[in-house]
Amino acid sequence: MDVWSNLLVGFQIALTPYNLLFCFLGCLLGTLIGVLPGIGPAAGVAILVPLTFGLPPTTAFIVMAGVFYGTMYGGSTTAILMNVPGEAASVVTCLDGYQMARQGRAGPALGMAAFASFIAGTFAIILLTFTAVPLVNAALAFGPPEYFALAFMGLTLVTSLTGKSLLKGLMSAAFGIIIACVGVDAMSGQTRFTYGQIYLLDGLGFINVAVGLFALSEVMINIEKPMAEVYTRVKLSLKTLFPSRQDWRDSRGALARGSVIGFIIGALPGTGPTIASFISYAAEKKFSKHPEKFGTGIIEGVAAPEGANNAAAQGSFVPMLTLGIPGSGVTAILLGALMVHGLRPGPMLMQNNPEFVWGLIASMYIGNVMLLILNLPLLGVWVQILRIPYRIIMPLIVTISLTGIYATETTIFDLWVMLAFGVIGYLMRKLDYPLAPVVLAVVLGPLVETSLKQSLVISGGSLAIFFTRPISAALMVFSLLFLLAPLFSNLWQKLGKDTGDA
């Protein structure tokens, strides 16, 4: 089957009134979560996993994906108007966006953020559509060593790029692997760390861990700091939301580069929209003829990161749908949800469930159009929503999470797991341990374990197998270089200093 007929099938599924409605709901919720500072896409999607359990898998994923890329649209609103990023991926947008708003150019900044998101997002979905099949064909030839190398790369990238300290990132990842070991070992049938608890035979439950780590701990972090100032009255006087012809000319190049950078970074296992937005902003500064103007309120500074974070959100579906390797923290949660819905991630997903993969991809085209409409004319409505006291929203997130977790398996034990990970997540956030590596490791744990063991069985116990096959060798060397690069650059600087002193 060629791409066009696949896409046609996808649109037939995505355009049914039922799926259209849920796509709209996902985009609506995503924008809302994006607009509200303090609730990120990971928490939003994690809460939705149990809530969408009763829906058919394709519909459930249309909603959850809509929330994910919807937050990328909504996140820029408060960044530009109030200098408060709605999401981590919009942190860079504050730099120039807020300055533009202070100069009375909030309208064009918001407009450019929405158009850049739409253009880069759609560009990334087109690339996703056309790279998916070739990638799957290549992946079908992958053996256990290649899969281990891919999972290893995902884990190294996420640990070295998130958080402040590489050491703590590595500790988070190792902790996640240990969590993933709880339950029955898939290869031998032996129980591990279950201590006679029947509830632990299936492991700690991916959703319980994810909702605890992301949603519950996020509420804990939020209630301890006074957020009142965020929700003060926002004055919005918009003459026009449309960027001028000059604005378009200025941001054309930035948007194009942001889209490409975003897609590539999103498609790498382990890296997501936040990293993409930072890198594209830095790249624009390098490319620009007037780098000193960045941070003073220039439109390129909005177009590049806003384009990049959307392209990355769509791009992170590439490894998730084709290889079964998550491209970011949020897609790690989505991958876990895939298994909850009984679908097997990996290259066979597209062959076994083409209606799921193509229905989801087609819904993203539709979702992006919906989001453009939702975000531009209805901007005033979203700003009004910021006036809902935040003190009312936080308790609601707690009870929705509790209800959703209970509803998934109807066991009270799961609620205790969620609470425990809520507290662990809170402590980790306070102590600067990144959370994304834990979730990625929990999701990838079983794959890491089986591919590692199978590889060692094939090689008779020699680790050389990961370095003698070309694809796995390339991936392993790349990951190791990436991991060790900060160490070497430190050493280099020290050596340079020493010789300089002498």
């Binding site: 050491l167 006291p389 707690v398 109807t410």
Partner: protein, 158 residues
């Protein structure tokens, strides 16, 4: 963060020691068949993950010991009401889970909502009651009535 890193490093080190000890106790193979020339035992991955975690934790402790203290940046956790509100949230969720089978979903959810809104978030009484009631009833309707999930009931059947 210097002191905090030392403490969290020690806690993680103890945790990894426990993981290593426990993974050595995992029986070699529940199913004896299928063992070829080299098949890693079930305790293989948790053992090595524990060892790696222990190494990193030691590195964290050592690096925290070696670097100078950062005055003004040492306080990691909030004090006073901020800390109390986080503790109250965790405690009320624990109480909620504990009482879920006794009070039933509807009453228990109503109570935790009122508590969180009124006591933890200090919303006015009237608003707390209205929001709590609306939230509990709508969640009950969505899950119990529309999705058909069997939510816990109390002795009176709701």
């Amino acid at each position: 963060m210097k002191k905090a890193d030392q403490i969290s490093g020690v806690v993680v080190l103890l945790f990894s020691a426990l993981v290593i000890a426990e993974s050595l106790r995992i029986p070699e193979q529940a199913v004896a068949a299928g063992r070829t020339n080299f098949a890693p035992v079930p305790g293989f991955l948790p053992f090595w993950a524990g060892v790696i975690l222990a190494i990193f934790a030691t590195m964290l402790i050592v690096s925290a010991l070696l670097r100078p203290a950062e005055p003004g940046k040492e306080a990691v956790f909030p004090r006073g009401w901020a800390l109390a509100s986080v503790a109250l949230l965790a405690a009320s969720v624990a109480a909620y889970i504990f009482l879920l089978d006794v009070l039933g979903y509807l009453v228990d959810t109503l109570l935790i909502n009122i508590f969180l809104l009124r006591v933890v978030m200090q919303v006015q009484w009237q608003t707390s009651l209205v929001v709590a009631l609306l939230a509990s009833v709508s969640l009950y309707t969505i899950f119990q009535v529309l999705l058909g999930v069997g939510l816990p009931t109390n002795a009176f059947g709701f």
